[in-house]
Amino acid sequence: MRSICLYFQVHQPFRLRTYRFFDIGADHYYYNDYQNKRIARRIASDCYLPANEVLLGLINEFGTAFKVSFSISGTAIEQFKKYTPEVLESFKRLAQTGNVEFLAETYAHSLVGLNDPAEFKRQVHEHAATIKELFGVAPTAFRNTELVYSNSIAGMVLDMGYKTMLTEGSKQVLGWKSPNFLYCSAPHQRLKLLLRNYQLSDDLAFRFSQKDWNEWPLTAEKFVSWLNKVEPKQELVNIFMDYETFGEHQKADSGIFGFLRAFPEQLIKTRKWAFRTVSEVSTDLQPVASIDCPHAISWADEERDLTAWLGNDLQQEAFSSLYKVSGIMADCKDADLHRDWNYLQASDHFYYMCTKWFSDGEVHHYFNPYGSPYDAFLNYMNVLSDFLIRVREYAENFPAAIETTNVRKALKATEKPVSKEKNTTKKEIKAGETVIKKPAKKLAVKAKTK
């Protein structure tokens, strides 16, 4: 039997509130709680809950014949805990069936793998620990943010003990080769690679409800017939996509849930295909060749490169400014700083600054909470300016900062959840006011001399 591997990415970023330059040094809370909550709840009821329900139903019906793999970013998990605990419960039920594998990734859904090995490893460990705690199983396979992959990332992933990694079946890397086999990394051959079949994946993720597509409407029968048309010698088809495809990108009225229910059933009936999780594929199959990838690839856009996140000057300035403090943050014990450090690394912030969609990509526009990439950049840089001031301050007054953390911990332990947050914010500002002004001036001077 040939293998089919379904993998879904679950991610939500902490979107930033409108943060003006005059907030710098004055207000240290950066997130649009209302928007984040609203979106989390909407997607939970439109996508995560009904889609999980369908998957659970399939597992109950077909037992081990149906399996899927997920990766859930750390920020998404935090949002589930905060806004929609029922989603987390629903994922736990899926985990309990034993038919679902959860992969490791960077906690913050970040692009840190491209420039900071130490922080990359820290985030992967933080994520793996979170997954183990939630679902009881430590991840054995890895997928990087947006399937970003290169030889050097492969090395780091193998170092951390992962045997398998996912990436894009990019033409740029594969050349004439087919994505429908198991591969391994050329410089690190013990790391096995599953490559996304972007044709079949995007038929669902992007084209499913496009009425001007000549294959519309896409039925389960049709999709199964396409799978059966795959060259018989090719042993594996990897269908990877955003989990939000179900009910969010493709709305419920497009029939996407009906498809999700019907397609596995029909495929199982053919008795030619077996659903396998990522790690099962990796153990059951043998790599047919190695993949050399000196330059990073991703699953985004026509180019399958990094230009959606790091393609223009804005994105590069924001990205490099952020990682200037990674040395300090490595040793930082302050809980609030650590939270912000994670949240600000999310690749989404850089994606919002992409200027490519001026000419093409409608996709970028659709997912952008900002009116323009310039607005996104401005807002992010204001937030980042404040964050950098706090980090430097922390570094300068290390003992003092520790004390504040302790004070905060004491407050958290003694006070009710609601009043707690207000009090801490007020105290922060009061305590911060006198100290914060100094670095703010320093920063302004620096900007001038540049």
Binding site: R20, F21, F22, L378, A444
Partner: protein, 422 residues
């Protein structure tokens, strides 16, 4: 083509736009006869044959003319009619006019009429008389399409259409609502409405203006087409390096200091930026009826040492001002198009524009804010002064963007519109 002014004798953007458009049309093989009320003799003739309305003889015995005159003479002038003139100039004009008023009605029916070509108190009479000239030219020359720019020339356009039976295209550069807000002049509104109703096609300079035309003038949407303005390529570049005399960054507002241009929002935003960063100077270049009020406001906010008024700037000084600027802001409350941001971008100055301007429809590499959102405006200014890559992006991409806004392509659309009505 009926216009009201032509370079170098211009008081607003209308003449520049007409010049750019006629040059563009020439490239598409469209020959233009351009009628102005008063030719000075030194106008650029490279793209057009300029007809001086003052030289045109009008046959007063023709009943059509008499009828036309009787229809338009009743219109009286209102205080909002003078878009590009300050209040003191206006008063002066009015007093001059009282002395000469008596003679004028008799002058109307002489064969030739001396047009002032200015936006003066006897404007309505000039408009009416200009219509007669339009009809006369239409009766005596060969052409395929009549094209009239702004309300001042609409009567001429309509008259020319009636005489010749040729299709009429009217071009809306600014509506009465843009000029006067809700205190609009009904006579002007009526001329605009009638001109557009009679026209075969209405060209608007932005979708913003198109919506006004459809909603406020009830013109059939099918015949209203947006053709965005463009900008002439720069003639000289050496001025771009004009030396800056101060070490602080300079943020500039350049335009008439009137309600329509939103100068007060610029001042409020300046105040917010200065609270944080004193190393910035704000410049308000131009003049207008709100100037004194603005000076008082700046004094009240105690930011006068970093806020400067230059008065009216012209020609080379405008270029110099752009060359000295680090950020250009156009906070217009209502702007049918707004060509000045394009000029700033051409001088490599990053710009902040209001979403309520037509030009926002064609620009990507600019900061767009609501004119009333002073916080966002201040934030955009601050960001442009402090985050280097924003500057780099705007300069590289903005210049390219502006260079792609060619009159040639705008003229192509206009030529297509001509084709559709011939």
């Amino acid at each position: 083509m009926f216009g009201w002014e032509f370079p170098p004798h211009i008081t607003g953007g209308l003449g520049t736009a007409c010049f750019g458009l006629t040059k563009g049309l020439l490239k598409h093989g469209v020959e233009v006869q351009f009628v102005v009320p008063k030719a000075y003799g030194d106008e650029s003739q490279e793209a057009v044959r300029l007809i001086n309305a003052s030289d045109v003889t009008v046959m007063m015995n023709d009943p059509v003319f008499r009828e036309y005159w009787s229809q338009i003479t009743y219109m009286e002038i209102g205080s909002n009619l003078i878009p590009y003139v300050g209040p003191e100039v206006f008063e002066q004009m009015v007093s001059e006019n009282i002395n000469t008023k008596v003679q004028e009605s008799s002058r109307v029916f002489s064969e030739r009429f001396q047009f002032s070509g200015k936006y003066g108190h006897d404007l309505m009479e000039e408009v009416a008389r200009y219509a007669l000239v339009g009809a006369s030219i239409a009766a005596n020359s060969e052409f395929d399409v009549i094209h009239a720019h702004d309300w001042l020339t609409y009567s001429a356009g309509v008259a020319a259409k009636k005489i010749s039976g040729k299709p009429l295209v009217v071009h809306m550069h600014a509506t009465e609502f843009d000029r006067s807000g809700e205190n609009y002049n009904e006579n002007v509104y009526e001329i605009e409405r009638k001109g557009m109703a009679e026209a075969d096609r209405v060209i608007t300079v932005s979708n913003l203006t198109r919506n006004i035309v459809i909603e406020r003038y009830h013109i059939d949407p099918d015949k209203v087409i947006t053709v965005h303005n463009a900008v002439e390529p720069p003639e000289k570049t050496e001025l771009l390096d004009a030396e800056k005399k101060v070490k602080e960054k300079i943020v500039t507002f350049l335009g008439r200091i009137t309600f329509q241009k939103g100068p007060e929002y610029f001042i409020e935003a300046a105040c917010k930026v200065l609270e944080r960063d004193k190393n910035v100077r704000f410049v308000m270049a131009g003049t207008g009826d709100l100037m004194e009020k603005m000076i008082r406001r700046v004094a009240k906010l105690k930011i006068s040492s970093n806020f400067h008024f230059t008065g009216f700037l012209k020609g080379e000084n405008v270029d110099r001002m752009f060359a000295m600027s680090d950020v250009y802001v156009m906070p217009s409350v209502s702007e049918p198009f707004g060509i000045s941001p394009l000029e700033a971008m051409r001088s490599n100055v990053p710009v902040v524009i209001s979403k309520q301007s037509g030009v926002a429809e064609v620009l990507n590499h600019v900061m767009k804010v609501d004119f009333w959102d002073v916080d966002a405006m201040a934030d955009a200014i601050y960001g442009l002064l402090h985050y280097d890559s924003l500057n780099t992006m705007f300069v590289t991409n903005g210049t390219e963007e502006v260079n792609n806004l060619k009159w040639e392509s705008a003229a192509r659309k206009v030529a297509d519109i001509y084709e559709s009505v011939v």
